[in-house]
Amino acid sequence: MIDLNLVIEVLIIIFKVVFVTMVLFSLPMPLTWIERKVAGHMQARLGPWRVGPHGLLQPLADTIKLLLKEDIVPENADKFLFKLAPIISMVPAFAVFVAIPVGDSFKIPFIEKTFTLYISDMNVGILYVLAIGGLSIYGIILGGWASNSKYSLLGGLRSAAQMISYEVALSFAAIGVVMMTNSLSLVDMVRAQDGGFWHWNILYLPVGPVWFAVFFIAALAEINRVPFDLPEDEGTLAAGYHTEYSGMRFSFFMLTEYVAMVTASALAVVMFFGGWNAPIDFRTIEILTPITSVSWIYSCFGLFWFTVKVSFFIYLFMWIRFTLPRYRYDQLMTVGWKILIPICLGAILVTGFMRI
C-alpha cells in the first residue's frame, strides 16, 4: 500500500530540487550580461551590444562557445583530480540552496497541502550552509594543484589561506546572528525578523551593522570577489587556479562563482535583511487584508521581496567589483586576522550583554 501523501511529498521535493537547480543553472546567463552591462556603463561605454538587441543574446553565444571548445588536459596534470575539481567546486555551491528559504510556506489551493518555499528547514541550517559552502574551496585547491602549473598552484594556495582566514570571521558573523535570533535554523531566523524593517537584524543596534559589515567583508573574501579575488589575480597569476582549464570545465568554475555570489546575497538577505519579509508589515494595514490573508498571495509577495533584496546585493557585488582595487596579499591577511576577528570578539561580548 503506497501512501499517497508520501508520494506527493516526495514529488514536491523532487520538483523543488529540480526547479532550484534549473534556476541556478540558468542564472549565470543573465548575470554575466548584467555584469558586463554594469561594467560598461560604469566605465562610460556600452558593454555587450552586437549579439541581439542590447547584446542580450551575448551570454547564449558565450555558452555555445564554451561548450564547443576543445577540452584540454595538461600533460603532467593529475588527470583524475583535474577532471574532478570543477565538479567538486560546483556541487556544494548548488547543495547550499537546499537550506535557503526564499519564502514562507502556504497552503496550495484546492488540495489543502502545505507548500514550503524552501526545500528543507533543518535545525542546523546556518551551520549547514557554512559547512557545505566551504567545500567549494576544494575544487579550487585541488584544481590548482592538479593542473601542475605554478600559476594554478599559487592560486590554489592563496585561496586556501584566504578561506581559512575569513572562514573564522564568517562563522563569527553567523554566531552573531544566531545570538540575535536564538536559532540556527534559517527559516526561524527570517521569522524572528518579522514585522517591518525595524525588526531586521541589520537594525539591531548597535551590533547589527557591525555583524553585517563583518559578514559582508568575509563573504566577499569567501566567494573570491573583488577586492579579495587574489586566487584569480590576473595581474600576477595569469588566471589563477583556472589558468589551465578550458571549455566545459572552465564554465563550471564560472558557474560556481556566480552561484556563490547568489548564495552570499541570499544569505545576507536571510541573515540581516529580513529574508522574505516586506519592509512594512502589510498584514497590519486593514485595506489590504483581503489580499494578504490569502496565504499563497502573501507568499508570492514574500518571494517578490526576497528577489528584490537579493538582486540588490548581486548588483552591490558588481558595483564593488568595478569600483575597488584589489588588496595586496599581506593586507588581506591583516584585515582578516587583526581587524575582523577582534571586532567580532568585541561584538560577541556586546551582543551577549544585550541578549541577557
Binding site: 583530480l81 533543518m122 535545525n123 559547512a131 566551504g134 578561506m163 540556527l184
Partner: protein
C-alpha cells in the same frame, strides 16, 4: 531497513577511502581521500539523528582542518617517492598484528552488549538537538568545557612560541 542500506553504503565508502588515504602515493591524493572519509562519517552522524554533529564535522574537519592540511602539503611539496620510502620491513610484523587486533576487536564488539538503552532520544528532543547539546555543554559538562578553553589557549601559545623561535634561528644564520 532503508537506514541500514545507507549505513552500509556510507561505511563501506568510508573504509575504502580510509584505506586509500594510507595507500595513495601522493599526499594531496591522500588528503582528498581523507576528505571523502570525513564526509562519510558526517553522513553516518546524520543517520544517527545528529545533524548538529554532522554539520560540525563537515564544518571543522572538512572545511577547516583539511584545508590547512592541503595548504601545508602544497607548501612543503612532499614528493611521491618520499612517502613510499617510509614503508619499512616492519610492516611484515605490523600488518599481522593489526589484523589480529582488528579481528579481536571485531569479535569483542559483536559479542558485547550495550547497557545504554537503544531507544535513543525522543523525536521532540532530536528536533532540537543543538539545543540539547548546548544545555549539556553548559550544564553537566561545564567544567571540562572551560578546561578545553585552556587547552586551546595552550595550543595557540605553543604553536606561536615554537614557530617564533624557529624564525629567530633563521635570522641568526
Amino acid at each position: 531497513m532503508m537506514e541500514q542500506v545507507f549505513f552500509y553504503i556510507f561505511s563501506i565508502i568510508a573504509v575504502i577511502s580510509a584505506i586509500s588515504v594510507i595507500s595513495a602515493r601522493s599526499a594531496v591524493r591522500s588528503a582528498f581521500y581523507l576528505i571523502i572519509t570525513l564526509m562519510q562519517v558526517a553522513a553516518i552522524f546524520i543517520l544517527l539523528r545528529s545533524p548538529f554533529l554532522a554539520a560540525v564535522q563537515v564544518f571543522i574537519y572538512v572545511g577547516a582542518v583539511m584545508v590547512l592540511f592541503l595548504f601545508a602539503v602544497m607548501v612543503l611539496d612532499i614528493g611521491r617517492e618520499k612517502l613510499v620510502a617510509y614503508m619499512h620491513h616492519q610492516s611484515v610484523i605490523a600488518v599481522p598484528a593489526v589484523i589480529v587486533f582488528f579481528i579481536m576487536g571485531a569479535y569483542m564488539i559483536i559479542r558485547g552488549g550495550w547497557n545504554v538503552s537503544n531507544a535513543g532520544f525522543p523525536e521532540a528532543a532530536l528536533a532540537k538537538s543543538s539545543e540539547v547539546i548546548g544545555k549539556e555543554m553548559f550544564g553537566r559538562y561545564l567544567f571540562p568545557f572551560e578546561v578545553v578553553s585552556l587547552v586551546l589557549l595552550i595550543a595557540l601559545i605553543g604553536a606561536v612560541a615554537l614557530v617564533l623561535r624557529g624564525r629567530e634561528k633563521d635570522k641568526q644564520c
